[in-house]
């Protein structure tokens, strides 16, 4: 059961060789032991999980099971789930019980899947190591002295350690792909607008996008089938015909043009990462792909552009956490302004405060044009680079992160070093493109290396095809951390 994919698990469920309740009990046991050691979860509610599993069993018994019925899914604690504590990794919401379901939660509930629990994350999704969580850092199951990446570190660690078959995350600047890379699993960020943001606590609205974590590309496709789709409650949700993301998995790759951005390979990549990526490129050549050098000349601007735009939006998005209606309110205060000041000073952690301050600054009168407007213009240029590149290739390939998992505490004192760990992923969010990470090897310390694929707009099915064919030819995705 440990290594079952969704198809294997649902086949077992359908054949009644195992019940959904038994599956849930199996994984809950792991969550409560290994999961505690890794600090992967913020909320576990056995009663709710088992009740959902029992409901799934009834669906299966009635012959009404769908492709995800009875499958445990761990959700990043950024998604509101009715009756569940939904903290966003923050003291501010440490006691907030969501009174409604996010669109993503609704979709999985409707598919009959079972909430395995709410996973740990960087506070308000601001971080690349899961160290900014109010609930403490998550440990990487490959080496518990290292970080799992962030901000969806809990979900990534949970899938990597087989605490749950699959999980959800969100990706604003790499928060799905980077932790997937650092924990040796697969994670996908869809095209902006493919998955509704309704009920997903906002960090940077124009960049945030939910996506799945799994062991295989095929599982990602099955997850995405459930998550994607128009939702009238999100004005940025795209109204398009539904698609089956598994439809192209089996297509052979012969003749596929794979773009290698010159800038990805120029400098900054750790040698072990570069070696693993080179081997992956060799593998794709064997599969009949044609390698094309492309250029993303403005990509170097993506980190500074991102650290203007994302904090700007965040500074406004996080204004609602004022202690008036819900969330943390300072126990003592002298007047209204004092209540705001103390509640927010106590409720937010250092990284969140840093970004609120940056965002407030760049939006201020006299600075707005120089920072926010300039950054928006550069954002357009970065997106245009990709449009040009996709004239020459079908999919772009490169590293997900410049290095592998780093030590807990190693970069937390140096925000710029921390921000640079998203250097290959951020441009994809700025352009609104789909991207994913899949495991492609290990460094000398036996820590996983992630391979990033970037698709054109709505190119998820093609990207998944490219990943799936690689996984048919390799076994990196089947490796699992020792001690798990």
């Amino acid at each position: 059961m440990l290594n079952y994919t969704i198809r294997q698990l649902t086949a077992e469920l359908a054949a009644k060789r195992v019940s959904s309740v038994e599956v849930a009990e199996f994984f809950l046991k792991r969550i409560n032991t290994l999961g505690k050691a890794l600090n992967a979860f913020i909320s576990v509610d056995e009663e709710k999980t088992l009740a959902a599993a029992a409901a799934a069993d009834r669906l299966i018994a009635a012959g009404k099971a769908g492709p995800l019925t009875g499958v445990p899914v761990a959700h990043k604690d950024i998604f509101c789930a009715n009756g569940w504590k939904t903290t966003c990794g923050s003291k501010m919401l440490a006691n907030f019980i969501a009174p409604y379901d996010a669109h993503v939660i609704e979709q999985f509930n409707a598919a009959g899947s079972v909430i395995a629990g709410k996973t740990n994350m960087d506070e308000f999704a601001m971080g690349s190591s899961n160290e900014t969580s109010f609930f403490g850092p998550v440990r990487n199951p490959w080496n518990t002295e290292t970080v799992p990446g962030g901000s969806s570190g809990g979900s990534a660690a949970a899938v990597a350690a087989r605490l749950t078959p699959v999980a959800t995350g969100t990706d604003t600047g790499g928060s799905i792909r980077q932790p997937a890379a650092l924990t040796g699993i697969c994670g996908l960020k869809p095209t902006y607008g493919v998955v509704s943001r309704y009920g997903m606590i906002a960090f940077a609205s124009s960049l945030d996008q939910a996506g799945p974590f799994a062991k295989t590309a095929e599982d990602l496709a099955l997850m995405l089938n459930a998550m994607a789709g128009f939702d009238a409650r999100d004005s940025t949700s795209l109204q398009r015909e539904g698609e089956d993301y598994t439809r192209d998995l089996v297509k052979p790759l012969a003749g596929l043009r794979v773009g290698l951005p010159r800038e990805f390979f120029a400098e900054g990549m750790a040698p072990d990462v570069a070696k693993a990526i080179d081997e992956a490129i060799a593998q794709y050549k064997k599969l009949g792909c044609e390698m094309v050098e492309v250029s993303l000349p403005n990509m170097k601007l993506s980190v500074p552009v991102y650290y203007v735009l994302a904090p700007a939006e965040a500074s406004s998005n996080l204004s609602r956490f004022d202690g008036v209606r819900y969330g943390h309110r300072a126990p003592e205060y002298s007047d209204l302004i004092d209540m705001y000041n103390k509640s927010r000073a106590q409720g937010f952690g250092a990284e969140v405060k840093r970004r609120i301050l940056i965002g407030t600054y760049v939006l201020s009168h006299g600075y707005y044009d120089a920072y926010y407007i300039k950054a928006q213009k550069l954002r357009r240029l970065i997106a245009q680079d990709f449009t040009e590149a996709f004239k020459q290739c079908d999919v772009i390939l490169g590293p997900t992160s410049p290095g592998t998992a780093f030590k807990i505490g190693e970069k937390s004192g140096d925000p710029v070093q921390m921000y640079l760990s998203d250097i290959y992923t951020i441009a994809v969010n700025l352009a609104g493109l789909p991207g994913m990470s899949l495991p492609c090897g290990f460094d000398s310390a036996k820590l996983p290396v992630g391979l990033q694929l970037i698709g054109n707009y709505f190119g998820e099915a093609k990207m998944l095809n490219v990943a799936h064919q690689y996984q048919l030819a390799t076994d990196w995705h089947q490796r699992m951390p020792q001690g798990s």
Partner: protein
Amino acid sequence: MKWEVVIGLETHAQLSTRSKIFSGSSTAFGASPNSQASAVDIALPGVLPVLNKGAVERAIRFGLAVGAKIAPRSIFARKNYFYPDLPKGYQISQYELPVVQGGSLSVMVGDKEKTVRLTRAHLEEDAGKSLHEDFQGMSGIDLNRAGTPLLEIVTEPDMASAEEAVAYAKALHALVQWIGICDGNMQEGSFRCDANVSVRRPGEPLGTRCEIKNLNSFNFMEKAIQYEVRRQIELIEDGGKVVQETRLYDPDKDETRSMRSKEDAMDYRYFPDPDLLPLAITPAWIEQVRVNMYELPRERKKRYMDEFGLSAYDASILISDLDISNCFEGLLTKGPLDVNRNYANPKLSANWVIGQVARKRNDDDSSKAEFWILSATLGQLLKRIVDGTISEKIAKELFDVFWNEDKASGLCRGPEAVDQIIAANGLTQISDSGEIEKIVDTVLAANAQQVADYKSGKEKAFNSLVGQVMKATKGKANPAQVNDLLKKKLAG
């Protein structure tokens, strides 16, 4: 030393949509606190705004009504500030690209026409309310109003007196109701004005302005502006300087008080709301709105003047609100035909609507714009004047009877009631010249002094004699015949 006054107005009109601008909650006034506040309205984590099409449609209507440019693409922006009645910590508004750009409104100031240019009108959401009563040292927050759609209508600094500002505000108030985008209820806060006031000596650049808030009636607006103008002039004449600030009008003391100075002004850090797409309005949508709109006041006014030869003043009263105008329109089809033309007698109808209907309605509680006579009934009354059945004096009395009795009963009677009442009360005009002649003779015989006065050149005496005849017939004698007969007899 002479002073020039410069005034610009900003008006917040609550749009008459059933649901809020970014959520499905009801906008109805007066519900118990927070009973109309959804997850979106209270800004729970993770919720998102979805624009109400009806609010946009109303903004388009307004743009068409004032001849403005309706932006094919406009942007919603966040105005960031902290306040307990602002749940998200920002208000969704429009900043750099508003939906309605430019336009103008022509208003009558006394009997002069004045055009006030509009800068813009933009869509935004209303805030909730802080309740400072009943909570012993604490404040309550009612978010029922949070998210109610507003159209903020901003003028150029085109008004030069409190009188002009009030005339503009009244015309705007009538217009938003005319085009059905706002109920105009000032007591409930549906229509709220702020005034920017400055003074300068002729030929000088604009003076420093103050914004006056809390002008929740036309009366207060007039007094507040007058006070503020006096205050600024006295300040400057005493050697002081006007400081740019926001001032609150206190109607009890009839004065304005400083609320916050420009130095305290907040930096709202406007930026485009990433949760909402740019608002795109196609020419087809605008056209669809246009064809479903009433004829506009300015169009009607032009028609009344061009086709019926009404004066600008009369025409402007007839278009001062939609009910008055529709009453007049009703008379055009249901009233007496003009013998020389193929449509109804517009001048008689206009006189009646202005002199009787508008007056009568003003006498009633003017906050409730109710009509207690049907156009068809009034038309029948006018027909009976034109065909000589009743005198105008009797008709006016009957009009009051209809209005008062129908208001009391709550039921408006139809046109058939006119003839019934005339017959039942014997109000038919006396047009039999023999009968009138007899009465004229009697009056002449009994008023020898007036007859002598008239013959010696005192014209006034003639009117007195007419009055005597009318009195003797209880107002039923045909006045034209009385005049003719009297003149003939007195000449003879």
